[in-house]
């Protein structure tokens, strides 16, 4: 029998799919629905210290093969959001709390508060490409990535995942910095910095002008990132970007991901995407003689050093 379960830093997932941060996770109830739909874990919306409205609308542009979004990290702040996490926990799958902040102290503070809410791990959003002062600036400098991870690790005792940006010349350097900082796992990738302009309106469509590109369009960048990171660090890698079917997930797994996250796939496939991806992975395993996901992790590499 094929076995879809995976373990990441002690978190036991019944299957390797997780809900990516920022999608259907403003409310606990929605995360619950996603868990019921078959996700192996859910990552919360990225939460900050204070309530935040996010960017003015339009926040989304639908493209042929992906989305451009500039939500701008709307969130009610960690204190209010705790109640949502409590509700999400009822889904019976690990809940990973995503946080963002402007400096090490803020992030450490959030990590410790996040642990108190009862989440199973903390994900550091070091990579939001369209919120000034948060994420991208911190996330593209290896020294800062290392230091932020260090502070977060010190502030909590649950696993800390570092979510990295592809808007860099070397994502593997960022991953190594996170590893040095003590991160327990790497999540890659967040969105690519992009813009869409309406020629008729003569202006960028997004209220924030710049947004993050996600979906199938970025999958090759995500797969390449995971492939590079897998060779650069020893900690586990979680792959994300453009996954909406089993084959997409397998690309990431064979590139070296122990698990995957799905965001934009929910747009094209609905919350059924988690079940669908799992079924397709299982079918592939059956047909190709694999019995455990772990047998496939990183097999696209000539040899693991």
């Amino acid at each position: 029998m094929t076995h879809l379960g995976v373990e990441i830093c002690g978190l036991k997932l019944k299957n390797p799919t997780m809900l990516a941060s920022g999608v259907l996770d403003e409310t606990g109830r929605s995360m619950l629905e996603v868990a019921c739909a078959g996700a192996g874990a859910v990552v919360t919306k990225s939460v900050g210290a204070q309530p935040r409205h996010g960017h003015p609308s339009p926040c989304i542009v639908e493209l042929q093969d992906g989305l451009l979004n500039a939500m701008g990290l709307p969130n009610p702040g960690i204190d209010i959001y705790a109640a949502e996490i409590l509700e999400a926990k009822m889904g019976g799958v690990p809940v990973i709390g995503s946080i963002f902040g402007g400096d090490e102290r803020e992030i450490a503070d959030l990590a410790s508060k996040m642990q108190v809410t009862g989440v199973d791990a903390v994900e550091l959003n070091l990579s939001c490409p369209h919120a000034k002062g948060y994420g991208a600036e911190i996330g593209s400098t290896p020294e800062l990535v290392e230091s932020v991870c260090k502070h977060a690790k010190r502030a909590c005792s649950i696993p800390v995942f570092a979510k990295l940006t592809p808007n860099t010349s070397s994502i593997s350097s960022l991953a190594q910095a996170a590893e040095r900082g003590g991160a327990d796992a790497i999540v890659a990738i967040n969105t690519l910095k992009g813009m869409a302009i309406s020629p008729v309106a003569k202006m960028p469509i997004l209220g924030n002008k710049v947004g993050g590109l996600s979906g199938p369009a970025i999958r090759p960048v995500g797969v390449r990132s995971v492939y590079e990171i897998f060779e650069a660090v020893k900690i586990p890698v979680i792959g994300v970007g453009g996954i909406s079917c089993g084959y997409d997930a397998l690309e990431y797994i064979m590139a070296g991901a122990v698990a995957v996250q799905i965001g934009t796939g929910v747009w094209s496939e609905g919350v059924g995407v988690f079940g669908k991806v799992c079924r397709e992975i299982m079918q592939f395993m059956d047909e190709n003689g694999y019995s455990d996901i772990s047998e496939m992790v990183g097999v696209a590499h000539p040899a693991r050093p």
Partner: protein
């Protein structure tokens, strides 16, 4: 971008824009309307197909900016999104509160064209704010009016008018769009009378496509699972008529 073909004042606070472009939508389906440089927000299709249009109440910055647009101006339209009203039976009761009539206008026409007998309750603040009375009449609907101030029809709420109609007649289904407390009232009536109801709900909408969670209502998403919900869904909603999410995702009272 769609080009404005006509821009008409329906009531002192409500205007209709008809576009040069064609867009087919089921009644109660909505589009995201982008007023460049200002905002983007959801609006029901008040006219569908050729001469597609929206009918909106001027409330804040976004709709104020929209109101100042002229014929020939272009605004962004994406959609249609969500589900729509489904005709059920041959004798239906339609209840609209204020701008809620925007989504119900095309439904009344569709239902009447399909041969259904349509009773229409239009509730408004005051006589001159009554929307689509003539349009509904022309479609073949039997019109009943209520105003909060009694300047036309029954002085009182649309729910009261609906209640008395429900006492007198037998309907196959009720269709509602308007303030949430009106919908809560109608849901109660529908339950008492044992008839089905379809109600179009409103929530803050940032994406319109089922991913941002800003329109969440007890795990359902108004933009994707709705905006139209039937009695089973409505009854299961603990938040209905009580709380909604604000821009920061905080639950605030309706």
């Amino acid at each position: 971008m769609f080009t404005i073909a006509e821009h008409t004042q329906e009531t002192p606070s409500i205007k209709t824009i008809r576009f040069k472009e064609t867009l087919s939508a089921t009644p109660a389906q909505f589009v995201m309307v982008w007023v460049p440089g200002v905002d983007e927000f959801p609006m029901s299709a008040s006219y569908t197909g050729h001469g597609f249009g929206i009918t909106y109440q001027i409330l804040g910055d976004g709709t104020r900016a929209l109101a100042s647009k002229e014929v020939g101006d272009r605004i962004g339209i994406r959609g249609p999104y969500g589900n729509g009203f489904v005709l059920h039976g041959s004798r239906v009761l339609v209840v609209a509160g204020g701008a809620g009539m925007a989504a119900l206008g095309p439904f009344i026409e569709e239902a009447a064209a399909k041969g259904a007998a349509v009773d229409v309750v239009i509730g408004a603040r005051t006589a001159e704010e009554i929307l689509f009375e003539k349009r509904s009449m022309l479609a073949g609907g039997r019109i009943h009016i209520s105003t909060d101030d009694g300047t036309k029809g029954l002085k009182g709420f649309a729910t009261e008018l609906a209640s008395s109609l429900l006492d007198k007649e037998r309907y196959d289904c009720m269709y509602a769009c308007g303030p949430e407390r009106m919908i809560v009232g109608l849901l109660k009536l529908a339950t008492e009378k044992g008839i089905p109801i379809q109600a179009s709900l409103e929530r803050l909408m940032k994406c319109g496509i089922g991913i941002c969670d800003s329109c969440a209502l007890d795990g359902k998403h108004v933009c994707k699972d709705g905006p139209v919900f039937s009695e089973t869904d409505l009854r299961a909603m603990a938040e209905l008529g009580k709380t909604k999410l604000d821009h920061a995702g905080r639950k605030v009272p309706i």
